[in-house]
């Protein structure tokens, strides 16, 4: 009995989220859509308290190995909760404008967040699958949330069909691994694989299928095709959410599976990760050049960013995992700010999404232009801005692990990518002004944008010390 209560204590933040989601759902059913604001802010409060619970919680292994809480999981959970809360806060004005301010929206986001927390705590291929599916199903619903809109529905359907396919691949891989190794528990798998001299073909097949499923979720090459379409079609607040927390969660899950369950097969999975990484960096850099729609551009940019993070995964060392965590945290914070600027692109109540609509923004709305410029320079990885630190950590880890050629390809891709980030700055600062956008009359959004831009700016360097220290602790707990 004590074992169960201990396990429940470990899962306290998740339980809190689950119970709150159900209670808020009840409230919503009775109050109807007018309660959107209340429920949305309540969800934010739930996430904040959950983050506090995570930060102060104990670590350990619960539910007979299904559920792991360590510094690694705690780091990722705090990042994920922060990302989800921020996207909920900034979603409100746009969601109202699109007429999709139904009370389910924040609750589905909350449930997706619950799924993400379970993903990063997964200690078994089965709990991994449960968390992943809880998250994915919520995301499919969110993509199609603007249900009267053909593009949104299309995005939701596309995402669902491809997502289901990838889940199928993942499950098939899990069954192969179970069949050949005799367990789904990460730690036992680790033991079996280390004991075996040469890994059997069946396990390798299983590993490849499991990785395919996960690579789909982080949208890395070659399973990236859904990203631009889904990002473009989904309502912008949903896109902002997709690009932020779920990416972090899926990346965290991938790292956990590879380094907890399959460290014995590092030689094998490293090759796959390097190919995915270099491919993503190159595709993210080249395919984005000709995009005219800013959401599609950010979609390709996110593929590129995942590629850089994967380079840290490929390093496989403690420094590598630390760099992935730092990179993803920085990526998430700046991405939210970037999408917030996209949400601010409205004229006369209509959203505009072409890059040319940003023309001359620096003269009409200097604050938004400045914030977006900071974020773009940061994403390009120009020194002085925080994005550089992420790239720095990743490349340093890669070089220390001897991955010199992927690192060279990576920096070259970053130069190519700098072109399209600079293009956005050019459009905003060098071109003749287009008509102004509507005022961003939503104080919390402005606050989030200011925070994100300040983090992207040189001020963010002051946060490197604590951030990297926490990430180092997390990486140590995962490998140690």
């Amino acid at each position: 009995m004590t074992a169960l209560s201990d396990s429940l204590m470990l899962a306290a933040p998740e339980l809190w989220l689950a119970v709150s989601a159900l209670v808020l759902l009840l409230v919503g059913v009775f109050q109807g859509d007018r309660s959107y604001s209340t429920i949305s802010w309540a969800c934010v409060a739930v996430m904040v308290t959950a983050a506090a619970l995570v930060a102060n919680g104990a670590s350990g292994i619960g539910f007979n190995g299904l559920f792991i809480v360590d510094a690694y999981a705690q780091f990722l959970k705090v990042v994920i909760l922060a990302g989800s809360a921020a996207t909920l806060i900034i979603a409100e004005p746009q969601v109202r404008r699109l007429g999709i301010a139904r009370f389910e929206f924040p609750i589905v986001v909350l449930i997706a967040t619950l799924g993400m927390l379970m993903m990063v705590s997964a200690g078994d291929l089965l709990s991994l699958y449960l968390g992943l599916e809880l998250q994915s199903l919520s995301l499919y619903v969110l993509a199609a949330f603007h249900r009267d809109n053909a593009r949104s529905t299309e995005a939701g359907l596309k995402y669902f069909v491809l997502g289901a396919l990838s889940s199928g691949l993942l499950l098939y891989g899990v069954s192969l691994v179970y069949g050949f190794a005799g367990s789904t528990d990460f730690l036992r798998l680790q033991g079996v694989l280390v004991a075996e001299q040469a890994p059997s073909v069946g396990i390798l097949f299983g590993l490849v299928f499991v990785m395919s499923g996960l690579v789909f979720k982080i949208a890395a090459v070659p399973f990236h095709m859904w990203t631009p379409d889904v990002y473009e079609g989904a309502p912008t607040p949903v896109t902002a959410f997709f690009a932020a927390a779920p990416k972090v969660a899926a990346m965290g899950l991938l790292v956990r599976v590879l380094s907890d369950a399959f460290p014995g097969l590092a030689e094998q999975w490293r090759q796959i990760i390097i190919v995915a990484s270099v491919g993503s960096m190159a595709l993210g850099a080249i395919a984005a050049i000709n995009q005219q729609n800013i959401k599609r551009l950010l979609a390709y940019s996110s593929i590129g960013h995942v590629g850089y993070a994967l380079l840290g995964v490929a390093a496989g060392t403690e420094a590598g995992i630390e760099s992935v965590l730092v990179y993803m945290a920085i990526y998430m914070a700046t991405t939210i700010g970037g999408f917030l600027c996209v949400m601010a692109m409205q004229r006369g109540g209509q959203a505009v999404e072409a890059i040319d609509d940003l023309a001359g923004l620096a003269r009409r709305q200097p604050c938004i232009a400045f914030a977006l410029a900071m974020i773009m320079f940061s994403m390009a990885g120009i020194p002085l801005l925080i994005g550089f630190v992420g790239k720095l950590f990743v490349f340093q880890a890669a070089i220390a692990a001897g991955l010199v050629i992927p690192a060279v390809l990576g920096v070259l891709a970053s130069v190519i990518a700098a072109y399209y980030y600079l293009r956005i700055v050019k459009v905003m600062y060098f071109d003749e002004p287009a008509p102004a956008f509507d005022d961003m009359a939503h104080a919390p959004s402005s606050m989030v944008l200011a925070l994100s831009a300040a983090f992207a700016s040189p001020l963010g360097y002051l946060a490197i010390g604590p951030l990297a220290a926490a990430a180092a602790l997390a990486a140590k707990s995962l490998l140690g």
Binding site: I382, P383, F395, Q396, I399, V404, L422, Y429
Partner: protein, 500 residues
């Protein structure tokens, strides 16, 4: 005075000025613009005063680093570590000297988005001083690359017709070179386990690795200097940049490349430097002759001066890789002299451009009839650019040739022809623009220098003659660090010989 963090003050002061300009509202557009100009001028003058104080307190006899400040602001990964030696000192002083002049030169010629313009310049000043003052390799890189952002904006917003092409070319070219340097730096950090430049200077890198590291650093510095054949961004950037942008670009930014060679390539990879000196000499020789010939056929005044910059910077690289104290001191002196002279020449072009809005040489002629003061000023800087004895240009070029002669007679033969060609294109430019009959109608009413322009040129004239007549004031702080560098370089081939 001893504990005052003067280098931090030098970096922070322009930043405070920039923040003040951007954040303090000042009523009307005109009032804000005026505030911006005044703030920028005051801030840059204050920075210059601080730089003078820094120089006066500098200990010339000490070849190591001085005014050291160190704080762990960024966790254990890299540190905020500042300090200067004589080489950094003179370059910081050059930066601080040019910046107020840039502000005055832009006083009337920039009328749009004045606040952003002045803030960008102050921001850039902070970064440039940061480059020269950094004693941490990552910090150096951050300042080094960060300077791209304000320059990109300055060219792109206030530039000429092809400004967008030029700004992208400038940014991407420089970035491409630098990312390779970044990888080399990361490798060095992994091997040596430190980011501190003084510690890295003491570390012996493996000889085989040195070559690769040297090449990666070379990719960055060669673009920045710029050396032939990666110089093509420079004419575009210069032609499109506003006058003050060209001044900063030619005056300070190009020197970052030379400084990089002095701080990293030569002392940290001495074996590779010896091995690859031939490459640098070859590129320098080509640059001197080729770009001088290209300069001869230019129709645009700014482009001509830009190509002459490439030729002058080839003197710098040739002098640096001569590995003796004359060559290296001469190279640094050429950097200083070129920093003042080319900046002044760009300002001279700016003077007539502001009046006639063209830089085409054929559109001018006979200016001496209407603009005697301008003609005098232009002549002094033309002579200084050619390297006439008594001006700053002579000292540096002479020292470089003495140094280069010790390294290779061929080298000195070729770069000496560069001096002749330099005289050819500069005198040709001067004759076309200033002498002859004043035939064109639109030039009949052109006005001579205004008092603001005279204020800008006066200190530059003074400095050109000071450097030419009594160069010791500027060579003294260089002697100790250069001697140290030369001894490091001389030890390297001996060690290699011993190892064999």
């Amino acid at each position: 005075m001893d504990n005052f963090p003067i280098l931090t003050a030098l970096i922070l002061l322009p930043l405070v000025g920039a923040a003040w300009i951007l954040l303090v509202p000042g009523g009307t557009e005109v009032a804000r613009a005026h505030n911006a100009r005044m703030t920028a001028l005051l801030t840059s003058l204050l920075v210059f005063a601080l730089a003078v104080v820094l120089w006066l307190n500098f200990d010339n006899g000490n070849g190591g680093f001085q005014s050291i400040e160190k704080h762990d602001l960024f966790g254990p990964y890299f540190s905020y570590h500042l300090g200067i030696d004589g080489i950094a000192l003179v370059l910081i002083a050059l930066t601080a000297f040019l910046m107020p002049l840039c502000v005055i030169a832009s006083w009337d010629s920039i009328q749009t988005r004045v606040c952003e313009y002045m803030a960008a310049f102050l921001f850039m000043e902070a970064l440039m001083i940061g480059v020269f003052a950094s004693l941490d390799m990552m910090l150096f890189y951050i300042f080094f690359e960060g300077g791209l952002i304000p320059m990109y904006l300055i060219i792109g917003i206030w530039g000429g017709k092809r400004r967008i092409y030029a700004s992208f070319k400038f940014f991407l070219y420089t970035l491409l070179g630098s990312v390779l340097m970044l990888l080399a730096m990361l490798y060095m950090i992994n091997t040596a386990g430190t980011t501190s430049i003084p510690e890295l200077l003491a570390y012996d890198f493996d000889k085989d690795v040195q070559t690769w590291l040297w090449l990666a650093f070379f990719a960055s510095f060669a673009v920045k200097v710029p050396m032939w054949p990666v110089h093509t961004w420079l004419p575009d950037a210069h032609v499109e940049a506003p006058t003050a942008g060209s001044v900063v670009l030619a005056g300070v930014m190009l020197k970052m490349g030379g400084y990089g060679f002095l701080r990293f390539s030569l002392p940290m990879f001495p074996d590779a430097s010896h091995e690859l000196a031939g490459l640098v000499f070859a590129l320098s020789m080509i640059a001197v002759v080729y770009t001088s010939l290209v300069a001869l056929v230019q129709e645009d005044m700014k482009k001509l001066i830009a190509y002459s910059s490439v030729a002058h910077m080839a003197f710098v690289t040739a002098g640096l890789f001569a590995f003796n104290s004359q060559g290296i001191e001469g190279a640094i002196f050429v950097m200083l002299s070129h920093g003042v002279v080319s900046a002044a020449l760009f300002l001279c072009v700016g003077v007539v451009y502001d009046r006639m809005h063209t830089r085409e040489i054929a559109k001018y002629g006979g200016l001496v009839n209407r603009m005697p003061a301008y003609s005098l000023v232009f002549m002094v800087f033309t002579m200084a650019s050619i390297g006439l004895p008594g001006t700053s240009g002579f000292v540096g070029e002479f020292l470089v040739m003495v140094g280069a002669y010790k390294a290779s007679t061929w080298l000195v033969f070729v770069i000496a022809t560069g001096v002749i060609l330099g005289a050819a294109y500069m005198l040709w430019l001067y004759r076309k623009v200033v002498f002859g009959e004043l035939t064109r109608h639109d030039l009949q009413s052109i006005l001579d220098l205004t008092w603001k322009e005279k204020v800008v040129f006066a200190p530059m004239l003074l400095l050109v003659f000071w450097m030419g007549i009594y160069p010791n004031s500027f060579l003294d702080p260089l002697r100790a660090p250069v001697a140290k560098l030369v001894s490091q370089l001389e030890r390297a081939p001996q060690q290699t010989a011993d190892a064999r």
